[in-house]
């Protein structure tokens, strides 16, 4: 549409008198008559005097003294406000036209910034009209200075922002709503997470137990889980695992895994049989294009009446090895090579190992959120299994509570580097008083 007569008339209609000279460019290549005709029309429009333009411009104009007193105001703004000129000029200050809240904002933000910068642009304020209604506006002010650089007065333009403010309020409301929803989601996730963990661990006579679950992000439910619970007379089951993935789908697998493990252990407590059952269940349930699996370590704890302490059989389905920290100050990982992750293959291989937990020994199970945490100090920028084993060596001999406390401190130190959930479970056989005295 640019270059047509309509377009030129549009330009003139906006009162942009200083663009007059450009009219020649629009008319280039056209007849002289046409050009003269057009210039005549522009001249006519220019009768729109500067004074008239000031008074009836499509925005409010206001000139104030440095102390805010109104020196000059245009008709447009007077009409918006519903005041007579005499009621304002020399009598009121700009801040008198504002709502009380707006006045506070003006005095604490607007006026100081205007003084310091000589101008301030696009500030949202509300004017109070003569009949008490509020007019949302956008305000821009500049300080006019004299030849010596002294500030003389403040020029202000005011634009009606009713529609815009309504839209902004809607944006603001939507943002607050989104913030509330996100908070709600976090609460929901945290609650869901808690339902996936045992409220308390079983109290096992002769065993000191501690656990910790570190939530990497409250935005999503993680998939780590653990439990410790009684089985047939005198034996105990424990497990710790990690479902791949996050969110509601992973939480469903976690829930299924937890209940399957507990039920399977009652049915047949041999750790490799428990994991084989879990594998069958998951493999049947999630056999599609979106594979779901977990790595898990399951332990059967039996008190050892001959040597004291506990005899533990561990079965692992692709899970990072457990670590034992001994009473003599040594520490070792307990590898279970060949164990395959659970849920993928119809006949996953389950590897087992056994360990005797003597008085003073502590067994630690963990998920890889810890060993895969980002840290500048580790190999490949990750914390690593080696670093964890070094920590175990430094801790040994230790107790379940002390070991978990040390891991919590470590997680704090790693901070944002821990980008996956981490679960840790420790069991410890306390030394009796007589053993300590030896």
């Amino acid at each position: 549409m640019c270059g047509t007569d309509d377009g030129a008339a549009d330009d003139g209609g906006r009162g942009r008198g200083r663009d007059h000279g450009r009219g020649r460019d629009h008319g280039r290549g056209r007849s002289e008559d046409h050009q003269e005709n057009q210039e005549a029309r522009f001249s006519e429009l220019l009768e729109d005097s500067a004074e008239d333009l000031y008074e009836h411009a499509p925005c409010g104009y206001l000139s104030t003294l440095l102390d805010g007193r109104i020196a000059k105001i245009n008709t447009t703004l007077l009409d918006w406000l519903g005041y007579e000129r005499d009621a304002l000029v020399g009598r009121k200050r700009f801040s008198d036209l504002l709502t009380v809240g707006g006045r506070l904002y003006h005095e604490t933000h607007f006026a100081p910034l205007l003084r310091m910068q000589g101008e301030i642009n696009g500030i949202a304020l509300e004017l109070k009209t003569a009949d008490g209604t509020r007019l949302p506006v956008m305000v821009t002010s500049t300080v006019k200075t004299g030849g010596d650089g002294q500030a003389l007065l403040i020029r202000t333009t005011i634009f009606d922002a009713r529609d815009r403010r309504a839209y902004e309020n809607e944006l603001l409301r939507a943002r607050q709503e989104a913030d509330r929803e996100r908070d709600r989601l976090k609460v929901l996730n945290t609650t869901l997470q808690k339902t996936l963990l045992p409220p308390t661990l079983a109290n096992v006579p002769g065993l000191d137990v501690a656990a910790h679950y570190h939530i990497a992000s409250a935005d999503e439910v993680g998939g780590d889980f653990y439990d410790l619970f009684p089985l047939a007379a005198g034996t105990w089951g424990m497990f710790l695992g990690d479902v791949c993935g996050k969110g509601a789908a992973a939480a469903a697998v976690t829930s299924l895994a937890r209940y399957t493990l507990r039920a399977a252990a009652v049915y047949s407590p041999a750790p490799d049989a428990v994991l084989a059952n879990l594998n069958t269940v998951l493999n049947h349930e999630y056999n599609g294009t979106d594979p779901r699996f977990c790595t898990v370590i399951f332990g059967l704890l039996t008190p050892d009446p001959d040597q004291g302490g506990f005899h533990i059989t561990l079965a692992s389905g692709g899970h990072p090895p457990a670590m034992v920290m001994r009473h003599d100050g040594t520490a070792d990982s307990l590898p279970t090579p060949g164990g395959q992750l659970i849920g993928i293959l119809p006949n996953a291989n389950i590897a087992t190992t056994t360990v005797h937990l003597a008085p003073g020994d502590t067994l630690l199970l963990h998920t890889d959120g810890l060993t895969e945490a980002h840290t500048a100090a580790g190999p490949d920028g990750r914390y690593s299994d080696e670093a964890l084993l070094d920590l175990g060596r430094a801790l040994a001999p230790t107790t379940a509570t002390d070991a978990i406390t040390a891991i919590r401190d470590l997680l704090d130190t790693l901070g944002n580097g821990v980008d996956d959930d981490t679960a840790v479970l420790a069991v410890h056989v306390p030394r009796t008083t007589s053993e300590e005295q030896q």
């Binding site: 699996f293 060949g338 293959l345």
Partner: protein
């Protein structure tokens, strides 16, 4: 935090080859999974995944490799991994998948090892 993964696919006589470079994790694995349906395999072919440029692989990455294996098996094809970084091999050993995925030192070696089983 910006994580990057680049994914290139090409075709050899043995079948499709996917080359992955960068971090294969929670954030990037879905990219690969989304690309899988577009990779056509004939029965008896071999899907080769070249991991030579991989700098990180977590359990989400493992899930993706399993999905790729399922994709290949569903087509009557097989899967092979090439140039598996030591760190990834280590994860494979931990989760017991080293026997599930045949591995080769390079894509070329994977192609050379392939023999048509049908047709």
């Amino acid at each position: 935090m910006s994580r990057h993964l680049t994914l290139l696919t090409r075709t050899t006589t043995a079948g499709a080859v996917i080359e992955l470079a960068g971090d294969l994790d929670h954030h990037t694995a879905p990219e690969v999974r989304d690309a899988l349906p577009g990779i056509t395999l004939a029965a008896g072919q071999q899907l080769t995944i070249d991991l030579g440029g991989l700098t990180f692989c977590d359990s989400s990455g493992i899930t993706m490799l399993i999905a790729a294996r399922n994709h290949a098996l569903a087509a009557g094809a097989t899967i092979a991994l090439a140039a598996v970084p030591e760190r990834v091999s280590r994860i494979f050993r931990i989760v017991g998948l080293e026997q599930v995925f045949p591995t080769h030192p390079s894509t070329q070696a994977a192609e050379d090892s392939w023999h048509p089983t049908t047709g």
